[in-house]
Symmetry: C2
Subunit: 218 residues, 2 copies
DNA sequence: GGCGATACTGAACGCCCGGTCATTTACTGA
DNA sequence: TCAGTAAATGACCGGGCGTTCAGTATCGCC
């Protein structure tokens, strides 16, 4: 009996080793360049072995993507948990900073998430994985939307549709990260990512406070 | 003498034909899938001929990219020209709508611009073309920055740094387009691109009017 | 009419790579 | 000890594709 258990443990371990090797390869050399042979060499197994654990190259990437989303979500949830009793604005700032942190600490995961968003996979990965990714994605947006709803309730934010506002906030922050990812942009705008990110957050928060209804009035 | 001129005309014409064929192929099937054989077949020339007019596949894409940027800039400039004597807010809305129009009328050019932004080329294309792309890109941002400066001057907008604000605005609008490009997103947020785009623009404008300095005060 | 120049052609080159499967190796329980 | 099984191997397959270049066709001028 214990033999079977050990076997299962070893199998899981091997799988993890392959995933670790793939992560290193992909994060070091981009998501296209590395070949299955590269990953195999790094994992110190033969190429055939990889296919005993994963159905395809894309499936490996899909698993890494899920890792990244999990990490991002846990960052965001931790940030929210730490500001439970604060104002909605503070909570929203905490969420945004968690996203910025994630971008800076795990740029490759960020790039992978963006690649998925662009439809890099979508075909050719198991629908069940695909659904998981969508669910995680939705959970993230939900955190933002709920925070904005709290701000609506407390009167901090004057917006009609919290989900729409959440979409705008997410789009704006994401937009800054994508835009400023390029060093050339930082040159063009003569400011760095941090500064631009905070400025955008300030702008958006100012908009949320002022509300988009009845611009001239309070 | 006229012979040489005709020759030159014909050469330019052939070049245009190849570019037209490449545009169709790339816009129909994505920027990677089509092969040089596909482009050649579509242009009704042999593959070798293409290399008499372009140095590489990437260079062709770079020229298409420039076309796209030109088109976008002319849209934006036309929009600005039509609102010369209006408020800064109206002008900024006109710019934004021009961008939205561009996205909707020429989605493939938009995707190409985004691909460049991601660094899809950057290596392997002539530095002179690369520089041209950066210049155009900067011109676009300049239009936004100047408009915001006008709003600063007129007192419509309360921001310290017009360029920074321009970056935020650009990032936010770009972010919405990228975010909502996916049909799944529209489902998640239960609203369409148009609505989200306008909502984001409203939010951002509200922020510009309110200013990001001294939040509680006017 | 023929010669040089210019334009064009497409077979061939060189290289890359994801995925498969017959075979070998390692282990285990009787 | 050995047969049965699970795991691992890596040569091989089938395909793809950007780029080159030796050879061919076309044109215009003397």
């Amino acid at each position: 009996m214990s033999t079977a258990e050990r076997r299962a443990r070893e199998k899981a371990q091997r799988r993890r080793e392959i995933l670790d090797a793939a992560r290193k390869e992909f994060f070091e050399h981009g998501f296209s360049r590395p070949t299955m042979d590269d990953v195999a060499a790094r994992a110190e197994v033969s190429k055939g072995t990889i296919y005993l654990y994963f159905a395809s190259k894309e499936e490996i990437l899909a698993h890494l993507l899920l890792e990244g989303l999990d990490l991002l979500l846990s960052h965001m949830e931790a940030a929210l948990a730490a500001t439970l009793s604060a104002t909605a604005e503070a909570a929203l700032r905490a969420l945004a900073n968690a996203y910025l942190d994630f971008f800076q600490s795990h740029p490759s995961y960020f790039r992978l998430i963006m690649a998925f968003d662009r439809g890099r996979f979508g075909e050719s990965i198991p629908p069940e994985l695909f659904q998981q990714v969508l669910d995680e994605s939705l959970r993230g947006l939900t955190l933002v939307a709920r925070t904005i709803e709290a701000g609506q309730a407390s009167g901090e934010f004057r917006v009609d549709d919290a989900w729409q506002a959440a979409g705008s906030v997410w789009a704006a922050l994401n937009g800054v990260l994508v835009l400023m990812a390029h060093p050339l942009r930082q040159q063009m705008l003569k400011s760095d990512l941090q500064t631009m990110f905070q400025a955008t957050m300030d702008l958006v928060l100012s908009g949320l406070r002022a509300g988009t209804v009845d611009p001239a009035d309070g």
